[in-house]
Subunit: 315 residues, 2 copies
């Protein structure tokens, strides 16, 4: 039996992965809000350097209650909308199904586990540059790999499970590079090493990533912020070697000019994902007694900017 | 014998204090650059809540070499122009005269002392809101007090001297509130307690002081930055009590909406006074082994913004 998929949040990320899975032959059900009518009429369109394609018919739904329960529920909403999940998740998740949390930051799996149970949650870290450029119209710019890991209470490392391998097989069929991690929390911290400096600084300094990495002051600041992330991770027994920070910095130098997801949210007057990307990591730092003065400062600056810049919550 | 004054840098600050001194009967000589012709023709005009006035004739000079040597040389250039001082100061300073450094930040008196000798330098901290609104036209908005102190090698506290009292008498005659300090370095650090957080944050967050003090995140951040300043000062044996920080914060709450001098420079595309306000204090921190991660971060952010925002050096 092949797996069935639900995509909760058909923006750039959910739309891209869902459309790729459907193109590869998977049964995929899409929850949409503002784009529902257009997608019913015209389907989904994906532009990509790896090949453009169009899905003329998709299973589209305006409400979770109308969707069939699925084996894998891909959670691709912004974390700023997670208050909706208690209504959205239960109807679409099979009894033996799993929610695959493709969200940024920290604390997202425990939140979902609280709604559906610890054994029905996995997490995925996406390295994807994609924008939604119109209703049902996604532009994939670069990258796309996912790192997948099982969740368990207190993020105990779980090793690789049968269902991870089944999901990974579907993703690979869909040409989505996938890596399996036996330690989801470590994978999350590793992603935060990049996300915490570059998302926040791109908003505060109104800059793209290439400008930040090219100027010696902000390159050094990014490195300092990365080292604070590494220290908080270490307080949760997640060891990130110093070489990883160096590699991140060097890799960032060769990225194309790129607006981070938080900068995109800010520019589009959407709320920023401050809670999961800054507040949750800083709460860990406080609990474990790690000093993180520069992440704290970045978070304070972002809170100020968010307040000056009222966002309109939408999808 | 009454003292004669030279004003080096007739912008808002130099123009305001110089005009007040002349109005009170002092002989004042003004060095001007871009406003020279207009000021020769029309004099200086000062608008102020404490009374508007106009000086129809002033001693105006386009070059320091044309000025008479004076008893007191008021140095009111931006510190970003201090490379000019080796040419500007010697011609206007009497052998037994003194340079009164009315500049922001740290390291300015040693720089001047290097040109004219340790015993011919005093420093003043100005608490003044004033803008130049046109050629030879100054708008005084609020405040105006000066704290005056003698300089000596290594900023050894000097006590109050005869010449301080004489200068203070002239300033009081000119309705400029003046306080005499027996420890110039302490006075400088106390001023930096306010300047370091609010100048930098107003630029980085594109905000006026009232917005920064009203938001709890930036109020707290300002307090943290102030505490770092206090710690660096302490490493130079300048003790600033915690109550001072609290008082600064409370006083700031009642200030009118106000653009800091650095924000004004940034908005007008003038170079920011980063070296004296951030680099010099951070050099002290490094030398004395004090951690100042948040001031460091603010400086790094400002350096980035300065580089994105090429300034046009002018007076």
């Amino acid at each position: 039996m092949s797996l069935t998929y639900a995509v909760i949040g058909t923006g750039a990320l959910g739309g891209f992965y869902g459309a790729r899975l459907q193109r590869a032959g998977c049964e995929v059900h899409f929850l949409l809000r503002s784009d529902y009518n257009q997608v019913c009429d015209r389907g989904l369109k994906v532009e990509s350097p790896e090949g453009n394609f169009q899905l003329t018919t998709v299973h589209a739904y305006p409400q979770a209650q109308q969707m069939p329960p699925c084996d894998v529920v891909i959670l691709a909403l912004k974390t700023t909308q997670n208050q909706l999940l208690s209504d959205l998740l239960p109807p679409v998740l099979k009894a033996d199904g799993v929610v695959l949390v493709l969200q940024n930051g920290l604390g997202v799996e425990p939140f979902v586990a609280n709604l559906v149970g610890n054994d029905r949650v996995m997490g995925g870290l996406c390295f994807l540059c994609a924008n939604k450029v119109g209703p049902g119209h996604i532009r994939h710019l670069d990258y796309g790999a996912i790192t997948l890991g099982e969740f368990a209470a207190d993020y105990q490392a779980q090793g690789l499970t049968e269902r991870m391998h089944r999901i990974a097989a579907d993703f690979r069929q869909a040409k989505i590079p996938i890596t399996l991690s036996d330690d989801l929390l470590l994978a999350r911290w590793r992603k935060l090493v990049w996300n915490i400096p570059f998302n926040g600084l791109s908003v505060v300094l109104n800059a793209q990533v290439d400008a930040l990495i090219q100027h010696p002051s902000t390159r050094q600041l990014a490195q300092q912020l990365m080292q604070e992330v590494v220290q908080i991770a270490a307080s949760q027994n997640r060891v990130i070697p110093d070489q990883f920070v160096q590699t991140m910095l060097v890799d960032t130098e060769t990225m194309k000019p790129y607006r981070t997801s938080m900068k995109l949210d800010f520019d589009l007057k959407r709320p920023m994902e401050l809670e999961t990307m800054y507040d949750q990591p800083l709460q860990v730092a406080e609990k474990t007694g790690v000093a993180a003065p520069q992440i704290t400062m970045l978070y304070q600056q972002l809170q100020f900017l968010e307040s000056k810049h009222p966002s309109q919550n939408s999808d």
